[in-house]
């Protein structure tokens, strides 16, 4: 087996083309994706709060947080949605690096990666909403969240913001391509025998 040293120019070009395609796709489908994400995160939030009062809506690139127990007329928090999920573009660009990105197995791996990232987006949005509850609603936050809970929710979301949202696509891609390489290597070995 020969090893090419360094990253091939073709791989870089594929990654950039994948990036451009994914970006166009992301711009086209971000609104329905945000609705889906808000619904899923709302279900998680309502399942884990007592009483279930949180409603998440989508509007103008933001996830709008509505609580049934907030005073009428008080401002509703709006959370920037793109920051949460634009890393889908990065994931697609990384999968495009591979020599045969349109091969069925690779497309399947990309879809699986998107699914894993979707689960991470749900978790990140839950952390973000909880961090708003814990730290941004003045006396209400202080009354309902202690210092440990505040640090847990705000720290968890801050980690996603600073490191997690960039590291997640890389880790998912790295793992799924290793899995795939292992399978390809195994089947080739059997064929040779």
């Amino acid at each position: 087996m020969t090893h090419r040293r360094g990253l091939g120019r073709a791989a870089v070009l594929r990654a950039l083309a994948g990036f451009a395609l994914a970006l166009a796709f992301w711009f086209g489908f971000r609104a329905p994706y945000e609705r889906l994400l808000a619904s899923a995160a709302e279900a998680v939030l309502r399942a884990t709060e007592q009483p279930a009062v949180t409603r998440l809506g989508v509007g103008d690139g933001e996830i709008l947080v509505e609580r049934a127990d907030l005073p009428p007329g008080s401002p509703r928090p709006g959370l920037p949605a793109a920051d949460l999920h634009f890393n889908l573009v990065l994931l697609a660009a990384l999968f495009a690096l591979d020599p045969h990105p349109l091969d069925g197995r690779r497309v399947g791996a990309l879809l699986l990666g998107c699914l894993v990232l979707f689960a991470m987006h749900i978790a990140a949005l839950v952390f973000q909403v909880r961090s708003v509850y814990a730290a941004s609603l003045g006396p209400w936050s202080a009354e309902h969240y202690g210092a440990a809970a505040r640090n847990f929710w705000t720290g968890g979301f801050h980690f996603y913001e600073v490191a997690g949202r960039f590291a997640a696509p890389f880790a998912i891609w790295w793992w799924l391509r290793r899995e795939d390489e292992g399978r390809v290597g195994g089947s080739r070995s059997r064929n040779r025998r």
Partner: protein, 179 residues
């Protein structure tokens, strides 16, 4: 691909890499999230990026004044925050390089060169975003949040893969990146 006798399987090695990568990422994050580190290192570093970006903008004929981490012109102003100083990509790159099985000399060289390259690309990002803010303000938000952030991180990942393909000892080929 042949594995050396006694060498771990690619799958196991891959999992070990990801484990080390995750642990280092959390440690680095905790490091820069601590207020004393933020105040003593991150903020001055971000202010330095603002100063260099302001100097480049002025040299390119785009008048800009810098105060702390703010860059201002009569038409547009921007504050360089933690997400805009390239450190997230540097953290990702450093965690990946230090997690990858390679001699320490190569890792250190990779860290130094990678840091410089990422910050150079980040300077291009800051200068171009300021220019977009002045001349094409409608495009600023999408360029800032989506386009440039992703491109800088993608650059960091490509840089790591390129380094890793050269940095791995010849006898340990199992986990060599082969994109």
């Amino acid at each position: 691909m042949k594995l050396q006798a006694g060498s771990p399987s690619p799958r196991r090695e891959s999992l070990a890499f990801l484990g080390r990568f995750g642990v280092l990422l959390v440690l680095f994050y905790v490091g820069i999230a601590l207020r004393p580190v933020n105040d003593a290192v991150v903020v001055p570093f971000t202010a330095a990026i603002a100063r260099v970006s302001g100097a480049i903008l002025n040299a390119l004929g785009e008048p800009a004044a810098v105060a702390g981490t703010d860059i201002r012109s009569p038409a547009f102003a921007v504050q360089i925050e933690n997400g805009c100083n390239g450190l997230e990509t540097v953290l990702l790159f450093a965690a990946a390089v230090l997690s990858f099985p390679s001699p320490w000399k190569r890792r250190l060289a990779g860290l130094v060169l990678g840091f410089a390259a990422i910050e150079l690309v980040n300077l291009v990002r800051v200068v171009s975003l300021f220019w977009i803010g002045v001349h094409r303000p409608a495009l600023f938000s999408a360029s800032h949040t989506v386009l440039w952030q992703s491109l800088v991180v993608l650059f960091g990942v490509l840089l790591f893969l390129s380094w890793a393909a050269r940095a791995r000892p010849a006898g340990l080929a199992a986990a060599e990146p082969r994109p």
